[in-house]
Amino acid sequence: MPLGLQAENLHQFFVQASENWAQRFAQEHAPFLTHLPAPLGELAIMLACCVIFVAVVPLLPLGLVLAERKVSAHIQDRVGPMRVGPHGILQTLADGVKLIFKEDHIPREGDRFLFVVSPYIIFACSFAVFAAIPFGQSILVSNLNIGIFYIMAISSVVVMGVIMAGWASNSKWSLLGAMRSAAQLVSYEIPIGLGILTVVMLVQSLNMQDIVKGQDGIANWIVFRTPFTFIAFFVFFISAIAEVNRTPFDLPEAESELVAGFHTEYSGMRFALFFIAEYANMFAVSAIAATLFLGGWHGIVPAEMLPQAGILGFVLRAVTLGGLIGVVIKTLLLVFVMMWLRWTLPRLRVDQLMNLCWKYFIPISFFNILGVGIWGLIFPTDTLLSIVISIVVIILGLILTFGVLGKSLSKGPSNSAERRISATT
């Protein structure tokens, strides 16, 4: 029975039964699930786990949209939404209700089927990414062996949804936006992939949990492990901002040029789907950066130095940026940096965007890979010496960079593209 065996493998592949949170969760909270016949029970548990994520993730934009409006308001010396609820906290809820009641308009000359399908593709892809992001030792939908590679694969499908939306709308703004978006996403996937590769070379595993497990304590966080991963973190994060189409890389939906880019023709709930996907993507990308480089659910203090049990353990872990709360704090911090950049920096031109990617980020990434490879040969395991050397090199590098940057800034505007890179890093 080859198929049965394959099914067994699939089960192995998806559910690493012993340490799976879903199973423990089900045993504790929904014991009736374990009474079902084995494969059906597994499936039910997996589905239950997915449902939890699918229920939580759409709520993220609710908070993030409000946060964006408040952050932008305070950066621009305004107060932002104030009317709905205390201090305007119910504003997004009101907007959501408004979007549900809006007319669902489909352009007559467009392609009806693809127009309807494409929001779901983008939405589904940005959700599927969450399946492999660990939010704690056992808070993870699926502990995939190829975790980070799966995330890359799924997020590369978003491009198809964007092209589909742009083409099906049959509008020049949409098509131009989709073209720009596709070119941008495909280009910036390369520095992102190479940035991930530096981490994978250091950890020697694609599994997200393995990547997190080695980062116990701030000195073991991958950003600080070698000087090269320190650079890689910034390259990764800036490319990630480009990957989620946010200012200064928001050419695909540049309001002043393309109305709203590939989703110009969308209205009502379909537009809301794009919007939710955008904010979910922001959160996902920041969570990935936090997991890969900033210790994931490991905090500043090594785990063995803290009490683990009880409420005290939970609170201490949260305070030292560990556990579920720690991941969320780190992620939200990175999301805040994204918002901050959006309301601070002007938009790049297309040629500057491509130059930044192909002439700066990709060579820097290759240099990082070479560097991490050599580093791995010199220090096969992490020692105190390697960490001290790495931190000293990082600090010297920062001083040198900011010294040069300060001088070149005081000389006045030079090559604008170069300045903008140094400004963003």
Partner: protein, 172 residues
């Protein structure tokens, strides 16, 4: 016949693969063909998962859906007029296409019948990531030379692409 959920999912993927592949070759609209090719490639990735080739499945999605298909769509959309193009079949095409696909079908069939047994990697060993095995095969064992030749080929293609796109600038 007993049908457990995993088998159900398998048959779903198999059905999806075949159905979308039929759409790819029969539909007249080239953009629709490209998009249903996406479904085909995606479901093939799903079938790879059933064969426990997780790395291969993800690679399939990255390379074919995220890379090649986007390139195809770019080509189609950048070429003016090709959007409204209705694909037409000529008699010669039907003949040669039939010959090629029958040959490939025969080859695949011979592989299927010559494989002695559809045995899987045993489950105990399957805890080890497939990437380790792949890496060792490529970098240490017999596939080092093909791997290096392929990488040189890719490098040449990259340099060629850069050269072609540079030329316009030089002509100014």
């Amino acid at each position: 016949m007993e049908l457990n959920p995993q088998e159900l999912v398998f048959y779903l993927f198999a059905l999806l693969t075949i159905a979308s592949a039929v759409v790819v070759v029969t539909i007249k609209n080239i953009v629709y063909a490209a998009f249903s090719l996406m479904v085909t490639l995606f479901s093939v990735a799903g079938l790879y998962v059933f064969l426990q080739a997780d790395f291969l499945a993800a690679t399939q999605v990255i390379v074919y859906v995220g890379g090649i298909l986007v390139l195809i769509l770019f080509g189609v959309m950048m070429t003016s007029g090709s959007l409204d193009l209705k694909l037409k079949l000529e008699r010669g095409q039907l003949f040669w296409g039939g010959v090629v696909s029958l040959t490939i079908f025969g080859l695949l069939l011979s592989v299927i019948t010559n494989t002695p047994q559809w045995e899987n990697v045993d489950i105990g060993a399957s805890q080890e990531p497939t990437t380790r095995k792949i890496g060792e095969m490529i970098m240490k064992e017999e596939y080092l030379l093909p791997f290096e030749i392929a990488s040189i080929l890719l490098l040449v293609a990259l340099i060629g692409a850069a050269l072609i796109s540079r030329k316009e600038v030089r002509d100014e």
